[in-house]
Symmetry: C2
Subunit: 365 residues, 2 copies
Amino acid sequence: MLNPGSLTSSQPGFGRAKPLVGSTINDQRITLAHGSGGKAMRELIQNLLVPIFNNPILEALEDQATIPLGELLQHGDRLAFTTDSYVVDPLFFPGGNIGELAVNGTVNDLAVSGAHPLFLSCGLVIEEGFPLDTLTQIVRSMKHAADRAGVSIVTGDTKVVEKGSADKLFINTAGIGVIREGVSIAATKAQPGDAIITNGFIGDHGVAILLARNELALEANVQSDTQPVHDLVFHMLDVCSNIHCLRDATRGGLATVLNEFASASNVSIQIDEPHLPIRESVRGACEILGLDPLYLANEGKIVAVVPSEKARELVDAMREHPIGKDSAIIGRVKESPVGTVMLVTTFGGTRIVDTLVGDQLPRIC
Amino acid sequence: MLNPGSLTSSQPGFGRAKPLVGSTINDQRITLAHGSGGKAMRELIQNLLVPIFNNPILEALEDQATIPLGELLQHGDRLAFTTDSYVVDPLFFPGGNIGELAVNGTVNDLAVSGAHPLFLSCGLVIEEGFPLDTLTQIVRSMKHAADRAGVSIVTGDTKVVEKGSADKLFINTAGIGVIREGVSIAATKAQPGDAIITNGFIGDHGVAILLARNELALEANVQSDTQPVHDLVFHMLDVCSNIHCLRDATRGGLATVLNEFASASNVSIQIDEPHLPIRESVRGACEILGLDPLYLANEGKIVAVVPSEKARELVDAMREHPIGKDSAIIGRVKESPVGTVMLVTTFGGTRIVDTLVGDQLPRIC
């Protein structure tokens, strides 16, 4: 069995987080002592992190998680291993917060290899003075996202830096998963004739962050799309075991992923503007701010390159999945010009969609 | 075979790092664009990180490393998985820098479980304006340390935050390794009668950081002891496969590790002041600053709890190892008072060595 759900002990974690009573640190803010390796840090770990993350591997409180993977892995299976640091600003935004982003993002980096996401680590860098209740809320969001994705947070680290030495909170999650023998997805495998598919509206996360920063001069109701995509990927692999390329379109957006595929596979990718799923609110925000939705970050959108003869069946199947109902074929792979992405506009013209040169939106994830 | 050395391609990495010529980012400092997901980030990865880290798994440039672990793991083997963020200040100190610390520290967190350290991730959080040549130097130190420890850095992530939102550079490394069937080390396994062993002088890293901060009113030549301990651990396991407890004494120092053992095993630990290996320079610095060397951080010192009948043979064997020549038996496990650590002083008195309450030295690692 590949799901680490059996690691969850019978008591639900959310109710078990005890207040830091008896703490030698009396105020309700993070102090440098919480990162010192001493009593305060141990209390933070034992009274907050361990009860919320709630699994026996973490509860061993060793310097490393020990996982009986020899029983799960078969000869021919491969391990997927990934890491991401999350520095999103602000920490809370419409549709989510840094905690669920840190879990979903790393789950998704595993998922796009076709892996079963299994275990995550959690490295916190906290600014001195950070409110303990905000930290608790974020850690609970991480647990909630981990449960949704079927992964366990089994090892962690806490560092505290002086006020002004970090902006509130950064979270690193590394993740491991298992890729079953026979699954082989790579950015190098796009072939002329292949179809390009995505699972829904693009640009939501980028605009949600802008909204949260109050940088928009308009009212809009756009939520981040932060969500785990692994279950959708398994659903897709059931229909088409031969997915050629697959990535989630995060920083740099759809345009960046397509350029990576075009470049790694030595092909050209053509996408059709009329077929791109973009919300009116996102389109409107982009027009006002001079942003291109193709470069806006997403946190639950995948881009797949698949054999054309499977594309229609695959999209139909994806539309039956909760996070795939707006799936669409958005383009195709061509032979040339090699390494380029072309947009066929609504008016029938074409333009090159280059990789982002500057920095559209810092600290988007 | 467990060593990922075969992953290293034939070209040595150090000479391959190309300058960022043709970069759209012309100055030689990190800009927000280097974290954007676009061209500048890709150049940073392809022209700096990938050539230096230099292994085919990383070179695939996928969102996750794909590792044929199914071929390495046998039924009964366990995976060790760990993470640490490094926020040491200053970045460079006598005996090392944040880069080698980030590799050695995570290698050691794997090693103290008896694991063969195999693969690391590298998550960089960089402050805008950070000099590119300093980053290059630190990344080369990471590679150097990885080569020394026989591990490969196979996946990574780069985030850039605005000037003032992080202090220069934070590095997270997560690590995975394989624990062979039959090896079982845990903080819960100390038994009355066991001996306590360490592999050399304590407190060097803590004092080296203080020296680097110019916070000492004295001249002293103390180097950080940052070094990988896995090979010493294998050497120890060859002599005594039944090591009960093993940890590296980092943040919080020797005192913290011993308290963790005493508490997890429900025993008392007694250490002998005259037997503690402490350099005169470290002792002097501690006297001047009112610090206790028992709480000073180390970055290459392990504390082992072993059956007493094996202790002498083990120390003799450790002394033949390059990083064990100052190994010593420093104490013993007693039945009571449960959960406490006692120091028998040079003058024959005893005092309780409690867990650190406040914060002795922030950002020590």
